[in-house]
Symmetry: C2
Amino acid sequence: MSRYVVIGDWGTSRLRLFRLEDGRITARREGPGIGTTGRDAEAAFADAMAPWLEDGAPADIRLCGMVGARDGWVEVPYADCPADADTWRAAAVRFDWRGAPLSIMAGLACTSDEGMPDVMRGEETQIFGAIALDPALGRGRHLIVLPGTHNKWSVVEEGRVISFRTMPTGELFALLRDRSTLGPKVEEADPAQEAEGFAEGLARSGDGRLLSSLFAARSMRLRAGRPADWVPGYLSGLIIGCEIAEIRSALGSADDILLIGDARLSARYAQALAAQGLPSRMLDGDACSRAGLGYLEN
Amino acid sequence: MSRYVVIGDWGTSRLRLFRLEDGRITARREGPGIGTTGRDAEAAFADAMAPWLEDGAPADIRLCGMVGARDGWVEVPYADCPADADTWRAAAVRFDWRGAPLSIMAGLACTSDEGMPDVMRGEETQIFGAIALDPALGRGRHLIVLPGTHNKWSVVEEGRVISFRTMPTGELFALLRDRSTLGPKVEEADPAQEAEGFAEGLARSGDGRLLSSLFAARSMRLRAGRPADWVPGYLSGLIIGCEIAEIRSALGSADDILLIGDARLSARYAQALAAQGLPSRMLDGDACSRAGLGYLEN
């Protein structure tokens, strides 16, 4: 039997492990997020690894994400921007774990022109993976965005991450949709109404005035006949549209924009970017993760 | 015994009644919000009035607020902007209640230049009260803002409410402070840290980019040594600063800005307005309410 390799993303809310043999994924395992294990991280990791360890120690283990945070398993200092893949890889913490070499990758830190610090842990792996997979990203200036709870917008120049900005858009959207008085709670919105709301939110976001347009989620229902199903789409379109308007002025232009993440959310971002005249393309997040951890697909 | 008058503000979360005799407040009563009484509004009102009714029917009863909403006691259609005090008063619904003439005041509705509808119920009473109390507001162009959960920014021209905009700033702030991952929950922030956070949030709001600066609530703690106590002030300063920047571009300039509401929150708005070079002054909310309902102080 060939020796196997384990790579994984250990975030706040879950652990995802992949077993690679000859460059192909042959098995997956999940475990608890580092946010719940805290100082018992090693025991949780051993649990998740147990069935695979019966085949002996892996040839290599590489983990990225919040596992390297202060409250994670082992704290790994951030690599500072501008950072290329070599700088970032050199910042990993390596140690022997039950006979296998284990690396915990570093996060990235930067400071904006306005003096605002920012950090990421986990997303940098996909960004460096995207650069490894697409030689075009090694030249010119590109924006890479990972949409999610806390979106990371990164400026990549000549293959280096120059700076980035975290936009907690996903969290803000969820708070407004689920916990605000702006709209009634909608369990499952009618897709047509949601799409209409999204388009209307995008249109309203043109002036970049988020606060001024939030209340329309309620007033358009009260006074303009919009149904409850319309509200989540409207809020999403408005917030994402404002996010993109802000990013354009904060990070400047780029040759192109790449989206890494959930397909449905990425499609919304692509639509919102197109509405502002910005073309984008989507990348496969899993392939980026693997490439970022040093294992290109065969 | 002179006959008495009852005026009141019946909002979603509470009923506040004032007994006036010879123009002076001689007693107050509270009751449940119209949001909880729903269709039992009349019974709740009778309960709150019971001790006073022992003195006979009042000479007049005037109520403003959500009591006139669709789910209130009696629905009172909105008066459309532009509206002056006479138009608005004429839109009240009047009926006899246990031998007393009872008026439920109308709310106001408007549509922004961009086609966005907006509504208020209750705040218009304080706005018309402010105009009644201060003859200077009957001429020129003024902004009147009632800060709270859903801030109402109104443009008053020649004594008429031309248009207004609801900014759900207070609700957004509470969601981010209490329910987001941007900061740890702070029961009672140290006032010095809070003031520092507020000033820093205001400074950061200069470019009007709310989403881009939200994450600093977390990253400044992680990377720049800010304490947890600093976060609520920062969020408040950032959001209020962005609100004012948006309002300036949405509603245009004015001769002056008047604040009606909670003294502590109004002081924050005054500070934020001053930081953008806008002078403001505060008005007594209770006096405005009484004047709006037609009872000027003696």
